[in-house]
Symmetry: C2
Subunit: 389 residues, 2 copies
């Protein structure tokens, strides 16, 4: 087991009506915030009113940045930074799913930086001061409500980058599962795939010694499998929405990666797809994950796929190892399909493969992925993209 630090200081208020804790918590840090949200769903479902009432009740002033787009985009960040400076706000509240929260986080990180925000996002400069971040979660997916990372896209560069800092961990997150009752089926499904993939990324490694972390990963994978379809068929099933929401936070807050030497793979490949074609992240993951699994399955990676098959999918241990692994991958594919996810990039609306060569380089750089469990050359990544097409 590898050494690690556990430091997840986010205070999560989880459950019905937890919005009542937002104002007094923000007040401990600041009196005026930037309120960041998306394209209007929170106005339709009443979450916006809940937030505004709570901010008013607690006498927290706010300035609004609305209309934040999916796959948090650079122009929204730039606009948010401008609003922070002009209005002298001292904190940022994101109300939404991963794109909104990531946008809020990066705004908070760039607000005090004099240079170009992209310097910080692309790690040319370092975050030195980050405004306190608060979140109200409305989609179980990214886990951004309890992690120190954000993903930002610059479509003009076709770059979708992961950025972060320990200071980017939200101070307080309000996680009310009833706020996800109105999430449409395709986003519920894509969110569940995102959670599933966040758990798979550290789970698929050669090292079996971080037993506690691997068993917790399986606990969360089983929770996704158990509840994703139920949340689709019964959108107001509290138990399903609640377990998916809590799984989303635990999936990527580093808990399942503790003690592991890890290297993510599918997310990096999918990010290049979103950066060129702006598809929903979870949809891209659903398409690429099974292809990637088939591609990297070999004698070296076999034991981990067997563990996955036995412990997550309850496949008969008497089967031959390679059959267990292949069945596990088939079940993964079927799980995504049952959620209504498209099976190919073409089905997801991508009509041509012109950029696959560039994308394959962008995923892990010209050297490819060197992580020992399953190294991937640029040619491998291109192959995975072709097979996903």
């Amino acid at each position: 087991m590898e050494d690690f630090t556990y430091a997840i200081s986010t205070r999560v208020y989880f459950g019905k009506g937890q919005i009542r804790n937002l104002g007094r918590n923000i007040k401990q840090y600041c009196d005026k915030i930037l309120l960041v949200y998306g394209c209007g769903s929170i106005k339709a479902n009443g979450v916006y009113d809940d937030v505004v009432n709570e901010l008013n009740r607690s006498k927290v002033e706010f300035v609004e940045l609305s209309g934040v787009k999916p796959n948090a985009k650079l122009p929204d960040v730039t606009e948010g930074v401008r609003l922070c400076r002009e209005n002298n706000v001292a904190g940022v509240l994101g109300v939404g799913g991963g794109s909104v929260i990531d946008c809020a986080k990066v705004i908070a990180g760039c607000a005090a930086y004099e240079g170009d925000a992209w310097d910080l996002i692309s790690a040319k400069a370092r975050y030195t001061k980050i405004l306190p971040i608060f979140t109200v979660l409305t989609l179980a997916a990214s886990g951004s409500e309890m992690d120190a990372l954000a993903v930002v896209t610059d479509m003009t560069r076709n770059d979708k980058l992961i950025t972060g800092s320990n200071m980017m961990l939200p101070k307080v997150s309000i996680c009310d599962p009833t706020y996800t009752f109105t999430v449409p089926p395709q986003h519920t499904a894509a969110g569940a795939v995102d959670i599933f993939s966040h758990i798979c990324e550290p789970y698929f490694s050669a090292d079996e010694s971080a037993y506690v972390s691997d068993r917790i990963a399986e606990a969360l994978l089983k929770s996704c499998i158990h509840y994703a379809s139920l949340a689709l068929s019964e959108p107001e099933n509290y138990e399903a929405r609640a377990n998916l929401m809590w799984a989303s936070s635990l999936a990527v807050n580093t808990l399942t990666a503790k003690g592991k030497n890890i290297g993510w793979s599918v997310h990096e490949i999918e990010h290049t797809v979103s950066a060129y074609y702006d598809i929903t992240h979870g949809v891209g993951l659903a398409i690429i994950t099974p292809v990637w699994m088939e591609y990297v399955l070999n004698e070296t990676t076999l034991p981990r796929f067997v563990t996955y098959g036995l412990n997550v999918w309850n496949i008969d241990p008497k089967l031959e190892a390679m059959e267990i692994a292949r069945t596990a991958i088939m079940k993964t594919r079927e799980f995504f399909a049952a959620l209504g996810m498209p099976g190919t990039l073409r089905e997801a609306g991508i009509q041509e493969k012109t950029h696959f060569g560039e994308m394959a380089i962008k995923a892990f750089g010209p050297e490819g992925r060197t992580y020992s469990f399953m190294p991937l050359t640029v040619a491998d990544v291109k192959n995975i993209l072709e097979k996903s097409f």
Copy 2:
């Protein structure tokens, strides 16, 4: 699923040599601490030297309270409080297992209180100021390194009470599994039982809706089962020591209880045994747990025991439900026996049952335990104690 707050702000440095992070972290809070430790094992195994070197290197002054006894006792608390005041220390560092860390926590809680420490411990008064707490863990057992509670015994009153406050959560815990290489077999075993019991307490409840928490609980139970015997047969097996240590922290930091309506039971009963007979906590738990399980198994509790049998002990799901439950209890008993735990209180050195009547009242008070899943009258508790004898 019940509402909850997640706020576990302890920074855990986990792994070999993590002691190097102790001094600079303490320095962020204070320059002078009380160093609390037990009866000398840390001097024999080098941990004391590591700590003192690190404190000196970081220019942290310290005053020592040594000789803290098992089942953290009131006189040690009183002495620690005196030392804090006389020496004007501003933080408390516990180096040891649960008894030492609990003692350190309660000293930190009582140092600023003018009245009798027992007022705070027995909840007659409230903690208002608690000195910052730091820990260096040398035994995988209590989880005190990452929770907000402490257990203190006053042998003159025969009271062993749980006390706590959010402010009692350690600021920083150093968890180096190599520091447990020299733990003798009986303490390694008792520690594993304590971890196991911490997971069982919230796990055994009627509500199946906190699926994520229950699956995580099973992940940790399986980790105990997987590694406890290995740590006994190979005391310097890093993987075993590390997984047990990390399981100990996660077992009781409230992670497995999130979203659950819970009520502990075996711990309360065992605490009365320790309070009268001063036996090792984990030993008492190993004796009482299977007796309690048999006692509370009925048609209402059966489904949970079946879940336990299937998911933790991999019992054949084709068996009849009651047989699965009984087999699971038998396997629990066998697991403890294989660790060398005594099977009865008599084997643990208790020669008479004189106090069982009073103890049965002390466990949950004269009304007994009213928690709906498995209420226990005073007579029930006395019965469980008799059957454990």
